[in-house]
């Protein structure tokens, strides 16, 4: 750290060595200043993001088990292994199912909460805080509460206690994959954790909708409720909605914490990152295959992102600047 930030913190130091005049010239130089500002970040970016990716491409062509400095070149074996490994292929399917669950439900719940809070006349700050508070919890803490108490498979789990009042037998929420109750556990935990965050986004957007729109609609005879929601609120929220969906997708790509903590030693319900974790850092310590998996995943995500960008015109505005 210190090596990368020092140039920034003690930037004017060269003044001592160079004549004052040169320093003044340098200080005004755009090129010098640009690099002064950017180089700590850029160096870090290259060392800690680009180099590892390059290294993992290298590793992915080697038999690298229990070592990160392998010598046995095996060509594309790791790639064929990963691509034919049912677990890795499944993990991509798991991600798809997960995204299909979590993106629409979080979108709907957070929008719903925002609408509710927005219409409240009193105790608004209180309710906003209540819905927002779970954002403070980590996925690990939530997993703990969900696994050990709410959805514990035995009689003293809260859900099983409540079901017991209605005479329903204990359900092993996480231990058994069919019926796949584990999705309920995972999705409810994530909903609780992140709905409040997106609610804030929607609230901000709702408050930016000009009141005149609603007044005009009322004059046109639109009934408050579904009609105004459908024809005014929703279209006005389009930008926010798109952003929320994108953010949710990105978050779903990176799902790891709750899957890792809730599902122990399963062959199901493993998104790609969990699968890679077990391949590379689990008992097999297969850094070659793990790196190949990371490369495949990276390539996939880049393709999807570029594709998304094409469709949504995302990033095009940036280039013109």
């Amino acid at each position: 750290m210190s090596t990368t930030t020092k140039p920034a913190l003690t930037g004017p130091a060269p003044a001592k060595a160079a004549p004052a005049r040169t320093w003044r010239g340098l200080r005004g130089s755009r090129t010098f200043n640009f690099w002064l500002f950017v180089s700590p970040f850029l160096a870090g970016l290259i060392i800690f993001i680009y180099v590892p990716i390059g290294w993992s491409v290298y590793l992915s062509f080697f038999d690298a088990r229990f070592t990160v400095t392998p010598s046995n070149f095996i060509g594309f074996d790791n790639y064929t292994y990963m691509l034919t490994d049912p677990k890795f292929v499944h993990s991509l399917g798991t991600f798809t199912v997960f995204a299909a669950f979590i993106v629409p439900t979080t979108w709907a719940v957070s929008l719903g909460l925002a609408l509710l809070v927005n219409r409240l006349r009193f105790m608004r700050a209180f309710f906003r805080s209540v819905f927002f508070l779970p954002t403070a919890c980590s996925y690990v803490a939530a997993s703990l509460i969900w696994k050990m108490s709410l959805f514990s498979g035995v009689r003293f789990g809260l859900m099983n206690t409540v079901l017991g009042w209605f005479g329903i037998d204990d359900i092993a929420w996480l231990a058994s994959p069919d019926p796949p109750w584990y999705w309920l556990v995972i999705v409810s935990a994530r909903l609780w954790l992140q709905s409040g965050f997106y609610m804030i986004l929607f609230l901000a957007a709702l408050q930016n909708i000009p009141a005149e729109l609603y007044e005009a609609a009322a004059i046109d005879g639109a009934r408050p409720g579904w009609q105004t929601f459908r024809h005014i609120t929703l279209p006005q929220l389009r930008a926010t909605s798109t952003a929320v969906v994108l953010l949710l997708l990105v978050a779903a790509y990176q799902a790891f914490d709750e899957f890792y903590n809730l599902l122990d030693k399963t062959t199901w319900g493993r998104p790609p990152l969990v699968e890679l974790y077990y391949t590379a850092l689990g008992t097999e310590q297969d850094y070659g295959a793990g790196s190949a998996g990371a490369v495949i995943l990276t390539a996939l995500i880049v393709v999807v992102t570029l594709f998304q960008g094409r469709i949504m015109g995302f990033g095009r505005g940036e280039e013109s600047k």
């Binding site: 870090g44 800690f48 290294w55 919890c137 509460i145």
Partner: protein, 280 residues
């Protein structure tokens, strides 16, 4: 302005009920957390659900910190160090770069920006295997260096700063320039002091993310002494022996610092989310 709009013609009762039910559901996990943290194990695993312990077991707190086999105090300290250093580091490094990309004209600035944008496409957590390989060969496993430094170079935060600085009023900088300040001086004396709200917003969010991070600390923290509080919690979930009240007390304490952040910094947080979330 917002309350005016709907007039509250219909569904007021429905609205109240819906909000109440939702709030109740959102609070249940907190209730369970507190109840278990302050109960005895016998009560938690008893035949019937006890709604709230009749005798609050405040001694559970002391018990947690006194247990030598659980390095919990150490993990709290680690989390604090990591979250604070990451916040400070990210603010410094990313804001400087973001400013240069937005405001310092330079021939190759666009190319550099593409290098940054390139990392936006790949969430950093996807590359945790290669990052671990790098960090372990630097000998940084089990160290603060390994926990903190690789996370400082967030393309996304740099991007947010750039977007923010693009909208920063030019006149202020020009005034500073007239006063004879270079880019560096103008940045620290004019730009930063006038952007404290934005910095505070990013800081709050970065701190929360640093405190709650799990995957990277899990990978790096092999030795229990270098565990952050999230890794410690996770180890309790899969522990050999389960002491319920201890586990839940640990979870409750791990959330506490962030609850303070939420109570006292909610303004910046909400503002930060509204600003940065949309821009993402």
């Amino acid at each position: 302005m917002t309350t005016k709009r709907r007039g509250g013609v219909m569904g007021n009762t429905g609205l109240c009920i819906a909000t109440g039910v939702a709030a109740f559901l959102f609070l249940v996990p907190f209730y369970v957390l507190l109840r278990n943290a302050l109960s005895t194990d016998a009560r938690i695993t008893g035949e019937h659900w006890e709604f709230f312990p009749t005798h609050l077991q405040w001694g559970n707190i002391g018990e947690l910190f006194d247990d030598p086999s659980v390095p919990f105090a150490r993990s709290l300290l680690n989390s604090l160090v990591v979250a604070v250093s990451m916040t400070a580091g990210i603010l410094l490094v990313c804001s400087l770069a973001g400013y240069a990309l937005a405001r310092i004209p330079y021939r190759h600035a666009n190319k550099i920006f593409y290098v940054v944008l390139g990392t936006l496409m790949v969430p950093t957590s996807v590359t945790f295997v290669p990052s671990f390989v790098l960090v372990s060969s630097l000998g940084w496993v089990d160290s603060y260096r390994g926990l903190i430094i690789p996370g400082l170079f967030s393309g996304f935060t740099c991007f947010l700063f750039r977007q923010y600085f693009l909208g920063f009023p030019k006149e202020l900088e020009e005034a500073a320039r007239v006063d004879g300040l270079g880019y560096w001086g103008a940045y620290w004396r004019v730009v930063v002091p006038n952007s404290l709200n934005f910095f505070a917003a990013i800081a709050t969010i970065t701190f929360i993310n640093g405190w709650n991070a799990f995957l990277w600390p899990l990978v790096i923290g092999q030795d229990p002494n270098s565990w952050t509080v999230q890794v410690a919690l996770s180890s309790y979930i899969t522990n050999q022996t389960v002491v319920f009240h201890q586990i839940f007390m640990a979870a409750a304490i791990s959330i506490l610092p962030l609850l303070f952040v939420f109570l006292f910094l909610q303004r910046w947080l909400v503002q930060g989310i509204a600003q940065t979330g949309i821009k993402g």
